[in-house]
C-alpha cells in the first residue's frame, strides 16, 4: 500500500452538455458547484467537513488564483490546503496525488478534487479553447505549417505505429466500437447510439489515418473526487477505495531520436505496479486515457497487457466489454461519454472509482476489486504523450 491512511470516499459528476443556445451555456462556476454537490452527496458529507480543496486548470479562461476564487464562490471556509493541478489530461490523477500527500502528511483530513471545463461554447470560434503560448513551439513551429491540433499530431504517431508494427484501422476500431457500447449503458454519457466497425471505417476522414470516430466528442461537464483520512473514512457509510500504487512521467524518452510508439506509461505504470505489489494480471478493469484509439493501444502495450507493437491484434482479439475478459473504459470514455476539455482525466478517474464502489449499474464489472486508471496530458514535440499518470486503485474494507 502507498497511502495507507488515505481513502477515496466520494465521486461526483454533472450531466454532459453541448449547448447550441448561448443562453443555455453554463458557467464554469456552475459546473464546479454541481460537481461539488454531487460529490459531497455521494460521501454523505456537508460543506463544513471539507478542509482541503484542489482544482484543475481549465481551458476556459480563468483568473490567476482561481482556486481561491472558487473556494470562496463554493462557500468553503477555513480551508487549510488549496492547490491547482496543471498537467492537462493527467491533472485529475495529479490532483488526487496532491490531496493524498496532504492527508498523508497530516495537513488536512479531507480533500476535494474538482475538475470542470466548458469547451463547447456556441459563441466562440471552434478553435478558441486553448490559447497558444506566444513563445511556444506550437505557435511558432507547428501552427504556421498547418498543424491541426491533436487530430493531426496523433495521426503522425499512428502512421509510425502502423508502419513499424502493421497496426490497422480495422484493429483500432474495436476500441471505438466497445466504448460506444459502454456509453449506451451509461446514463451520464453523451452518445447512446451504438456504432459498428463498418461505421468506424466509413467515418469522415479528418487527418489520415485519423477519422471522425477516432476523435473525442467535446462536452461541458464537471467532476469531483473526495479523499479522506482513513479514520475519517471509517465514520462514513461508504465503500472506500484505496490508492494502492501510482506513478507519473513527464517528457518520456530520448528527445533527440524518440521512439514515438512508446509512452511515459511504461515508466509511470512500472512505478504504480511496484508500489501496489501487483502486475497487470491482478487488474479487473482498465480506465485508459482515450483521446484516440491509437493512444489506448499504445498504453495497453506499455501497461504490459501485450508486447510492444501488438496493441492492434490485441484489441482486435480480446473481449474488452465490461462483461468481457479485459473491461476497458467502461463509461464509454472520452470517445463516447464525452471529453470535458481539460477535465478529461476525470472521465477515467471517476469511472475507475465507481467500478470499485460497485456503483456502475448496468455496466458494473462483476466483483471488481482492483483497477487501473491512466491520465495523459498533451503531446510533446516529435513524441507522443507529454505527461503520463498511472494509478492502481483497490476496493477497501468497511471498518
Amino acid at each position: 500500500m502507498t497511502f495507507e491512511d488515505v481513502a477515496i470516499v466520494g465521486i461526483g459528476e454533472t450531466a454532459k452538455r453541448r449547448p447550441d443556445d448561448p443562453a443555455e451555456l453554463r458557467s464554469l462556476e456552475r459546473l464546479y458547484a454541481d460537481a461539488t454537490a454531487s460529490t459531497l452527496d455521494s460521501a454523505g458529507l456537508q460543506h463544513a467537513a471539507i478542509d482541503g480543496v484542489g482544482v484543475i486548470r481549465s481551458g476556459v479562461q480563468t483568473p490567476a488564483n482561481f482556486v481561491g476564487h472558487l473556494v470562496e464562490t463554493l462557500g468553503f471556509e477555513n480551508v487549510r490546503w488549496a492547490t491547482t493541478a496543471d498537467t492537462g489530461g493527467s491533472n485529475a490523477v495529479s490532483l488526487l496525488l496532491q490531496g493524498a500527500l496532504a492527508i498523508d502528511a497530516g495537513i488536512v483530513e479531507t480533500f476535494l478534487c474538482l475538475g470542470a471545463d466548458a469547451p463547447v461554447d456556441p459563441t466562440a470560434p471552434p478553435a478558441g479553447l486553448f490559447e497558444r503560448d506566444p513563445r511556444g513551439y506550437v505557435r511558432n513551429y507547428m501552427d504556421p505549417f498547418g498543424t491541426q491540433g491533436p487530430n493531426s499530431r496523433l495521426a503522425h504517431v499512428q502512421t509510425v505505429h502502423a508502419s513499424e508494427y502493421g497496426t490497422t484501422r480495422e484493429q483500432l476500431g474495436h476500441i471505438a466500437v466497445v466504448q460506444r457500447r459502454h456509453a449506451a449503458l451509461n446514463p451520464r454519457a453523451w452518445f447512446d447510439d451504438p456504432i459498428d466497425l463498418a461505421a468506424y471505417l466509413d467515418a469522415t476522414p479528418i487527418a489520415d489515418p485519423i477519422g471522425l470516430f477516432d476523435c473525442v466528442i467535446p462536452v461541458n461537464g464537471g467532476f469531483g473526487v473526495l479523499l479522506a483520512s482513513a479514520e475519517r473514512a471509517s465514520e462514513l457509510d461508504v465503500d472506500p477505495v484505496e490508492i494502492a500504487g501510482f506513478g507519473e512521467c513527464s517528457n518520456y524518452g530520448d528527445s533527440r531520436s524518440p521512439d514515438v510508439t512508446t509512452t511515459g506509461v511504461t515508466v509511470a505504470g512500472r512505478a504504480a505496479y511496484d508500489r501496489a505489489g501487483v502486475g497487470p494480471d491482478a487488474i479487473d478493469c482498465w480506465q485508459v486515457y482515450d483521446d484516440y484509439p491509437i493512444v489506448v493501444a499504445m498504453q495497453l502495450e506499455d501497461l504490459g497487457l501485450c508486447d510492444k507493437g501488438d496493441g492492434g491484434p490485441y484489441v482486435a482479439g480480446t473481449d474488452l466489454g465490461f462483461d468481457g475478459d479485459v473491461p476497458l473504459n467502461t463509461s464509454g470514455g472520452q470517445l463516447s461519454a464525452g471529453q470535458p476539455g481539460m477535465a478529461a482525466g476525470f472521465v477515467q478517474l471517476v469511472e475507475g472509482i465507481r467500478q470499485l464502489r460497485r456503483d456502475a449499474d448496468d455496466r458494473q464489472v462483476r466483483g471488481a476489486t482492483r483497477g487501473v486508471v491512466t491520465g495523459a496530458g498533451g503531446v510533446a514535440y516529435g513524441k507522443n504523450l507529454r505527461h503520463c499518470s498511472v494509478l492502481v486503485l483497490e476496493r477497501g474494507d468497511r471498518s
Binding site: R135, N140, Y141, D143, Q148, H156, V160, I206, A207
Partner: protein, 136 residues
C-alpha cells in the same frame, strides 16, 4: 492562402531570431551545443541535452520523412481550409533533429515514411519564410 494564416510571433523569442532570419535568406539553420555538440530543433534558449550554450550551424537541407499525416478537415486551424488536402510531416534532417514541416510539390497520397526530401522555402508574409520540403 487566407489572410488569417497563423504566423510565428517573431518578437517573442529572441533566441530564435537567427532561424527566421536565415529562412528569410533561403537558408536552413539548426542549433548546436557548444559543449556536447548535440544539434537540436526547434530553437531553445539552451541545449536540451546538457543545458549548455548553443550556436547555429547550417543544415544541408536534406532529410527523410519520419512521420506524416494527410490533413483533410482543418478543425483546429480553419485558416488552412482552402489548402486541404495537404501533408504535414516530421522530417528527420541529415544532422539528426526532426523538424515539423509541410511536404509540398507532390500528391498527398504519394508521401510515405522514409521518403527522401529536400528543403524549399515558402514566403508567407513580408517577414516570414517557412522551410517546407519536397521529394528529391
Amino acid at each position: 492562402m487566407t489572410d488569417s494564416r497563423p504566423l510565428p510571433s517573431l518578437a517573442e523569442a529572441s533566441y530564435a531570431r537567427e532561424f527566421w532570419d536565415a529562412a528569410n535568406e533561403g537558408r536552413l539553420v539548426v542549433q548546436r551545443c557548444e559543449a556536447c555538440t548535440t544539434t537540436q530543433y526547434f530553437p531553445r534558449p539552451r541545449c536540451g541535452a546538457c543545458g549548455g550554450s548553443v550556436d547555429w550551424v547550417e543544415a544541408s537541407g536534406l532529410g527523410t520523412v519520419y512521420s506524416h499525416a494527410v490533413i483533410r478537415r482543418p478543425v483546429s486551424n480553419p485558416a488552412f481550409r482552402d489548402e486541404v488536402p495537404y501533408v504535414t510531416a516530421y522530417v528527420e534532417l541529415e544532422e539528426g533533429p526532426r523538424l515539423f514541416t509541410r511536404i509540398v510539390e507532390c500528391e498527398p497520397e504519394t508521401v510515405e515514411r522514409g521518403l527522401p526530401v529536400s528543403v524549399t522555402f515558402e514566403r508567407v508574409s513580408e517577414s516570414v519564410v517557412l522551410p517546407t520540403f519536397e521529394p528529391r
